[in-house]
Amino acid sequence: MRQLIGLIPLIPLLSSVCLMLLGSRLPRLWIGLLGVGSVGLAALLTGLTAVDFLANPEPFQLTLWVWMQVGNFAPGVAFYFDGLTLVMMSVITGVGFLIHLFSTEFMEEDKSYARYFAYLNMFVAAMLILVMADNLLLLYLGWEGVGVCSYLLVGFWYQNSANGQAARKAFIVTRIGDTAMALGLFLLFSELGTLNIQALGVAANETWQVGDKLPLIACLLLLAGAVGKSAQLPLHTWLPDAMAGPTPVSALIHAATMVTAGVYLIARTHELYLLAPIAMIAVALVGLTTSLMAAFTALTQRDIKRILAYSTISQIGYMFLALGVGAWSAGVFHLMTHAFFKALLFLGSGAIIHCLHHEHDIFKMGGLRTRMPVTFWSFMIGSAALAALPMTSGFFSKDQILLQAYQVDGIGPWLWLGGLLGALLTAIYSFRLVFVVFFGKANTEPDRDTGWRMALPLSLLCALALFGGWIMLPVAEVFPVASGLHPAHWVEYVSIAVPVVGVVIAYLVFYSGQLPVDGLLNRPSMQSLQRFWHSGWGLDALYDRLFVRPYYALAALLKGEPVDAVYGLIVAINQTLNGWLAEGQSGQMRRYLISMVFGLIVVLAILLGVF
């Protein structure tokens, strides 16, 4: 059984290759079957493996072949399987399967159906490799692989060059992080002499003390990679634009799986982070600020997908916060639950967009409650979980995070407060979405409700979003156990109450309108503040000024090839000299005579030692 895990990434990969090679010739049904079936099969295998693993939870390692061997640098194409891997794999294959299924209906009319599933399958394969890798190099392979797939899928509708822009932005911004991460790998290898994750943990503990400089640098470099992939400050700007891709893609890549890779990376290498407390704090702070920034921004967006995008950023911020405070399992737990409800929300929005002929602006929707019941309920549940209303899956995970954040000595309470503020905002914007879209009067008519291929995944995800909180993660022996003692009860109550308050506010403001905020919002100061938030805190513009434009300017400057000018100069000199000398050849004999006599004089001068 365990030898079979090699197949799990292989199956989607193969089907993806098949689709690429002969996709154009296959009938749509086959394409659908191949695309969905492969992932389904992968999910099935994962399930079997899970059963087998839970029976006796013994991590194991499977080496397929040695990738490259140069001296003592010998990373293998090898998988490592433990609880964490299992969680990630089940999320990827499970949620992935549902999203594939959803896509078959969503992408129905699209010409390049096959290309879509080819990319999507390749993505699943790459993501699986990422989480199963037993060494950082193979992980890096998956890491870059998902990056490319995301690039391909964001730019899937290549005819519109705006999508291409978004795709390139996504890839290049994350590439910045990846490069930092690569440097981290170099550092780790040249210091510890291996890239095998387990071995790294051991070696690091042997060679380094807590608080050393090298582990700090290494962790920060890895963090940079994670930040890029997971769209955290300061490298988050690509994710909102990445919404240009088909909505199921956003659901799978930019909500459920790829963007959480950063979380996975840090959780995976937690042994290193434990050696670098400062790095941990950095992680926590990055997470917190990101979550707040994104939450504020989400409040002011009008595009349904961008709202969800920012909320994703903010939720991943929570996960980082969790990792930063050492709540490893809580972070991973939130990763999972978030995968459920955010996928649900995205698919829901996808359904809306699909049925509202590609309408994105929430204020152009409204009153969909009755017309699209399935979607409505899924959105309800999704938002509830997102807002972490009690008993929903989101509640359990977020609650754990907040509590453990509170316990961090020193800055703990402040982290907790920040988290609370975030939770409040989350509740507000998520229910703003619900109220604006589904209640009130209808602005546009949906041409139909969802078909079963959309409804089934939605309903299944609903179940998960509701009850996912009861799942027990088998990550006990992966992470060091968090401190068991519980903070004062009022802390818990507050953490539970805050989201509810948020929902109430949202209700008052966006539904019943009993809380008139328009006057407040229309103040110039507030206007500009809103604009500031809406622009994602002006970071895009800032980067544009700081990096993009200067780079273009530099390129334009160098286009003329200054180096070549030097050689051009040499040529010019030769030509002018030639010109002068040719002038001398005037054809007049007396000149020739004069030059002879001149030569004679020079020769005599040299000989007689005049010079």
């Binding site: 040719a582 050849q585 005037s586 054809g587 007049q588 004999m589 007396r590 005579l593 004069i594 006599v597």
Partner: protein
């Protein structure tokens, strides 16, 4: 003839002066005839130098070379004058500065 034994250096001086004169003429005159004449002057200056040197060393070689020079001069001038005719015919002038069809 011990009355006049002029030191070699003096004669060489004279001959070099002659040489210089000829060379100046060569550089200054534009008429081909005069140019050829200047050449003659230079040749003779060398001849003088040889003769003097021969006398200085008491060898006949100097005079022999002198005769050779005479014959060489004759040959050169013979061809030269032949060409002068051609030039007169084709350029309609003896001014060498006009003979600059080839340049660059």
């Amino acid at each position: 003839m011990d009355g006049l034994n002029i030191p070699l250096s003096h004669i060489l001086l004279v001959s070099s002066l002659l040489f210089a004169v000829g060379m100046l003429g060569l550089m200054m005159r534009r008429n081909i005839i005069f140019i050829l004449m200047s050449l003659e002057v230079m040749l003779n200056s060398t001849a003088l130098a040889f003769v003097a040197a021969g006398a200085h060393w008491g060898q006949p070689d100097g005079q022999i070379v002198f005769m050779l020079i005479l014959s060489v001069a004759a040959a050169e001038v013979a061809v030269g004058l032949g060409l002068v005719l051609q030039i007169q015919r084709r350029f309609k002038s003896l001014d060498m500065d006009n003979a600059n069809r080839m340049q660059g």
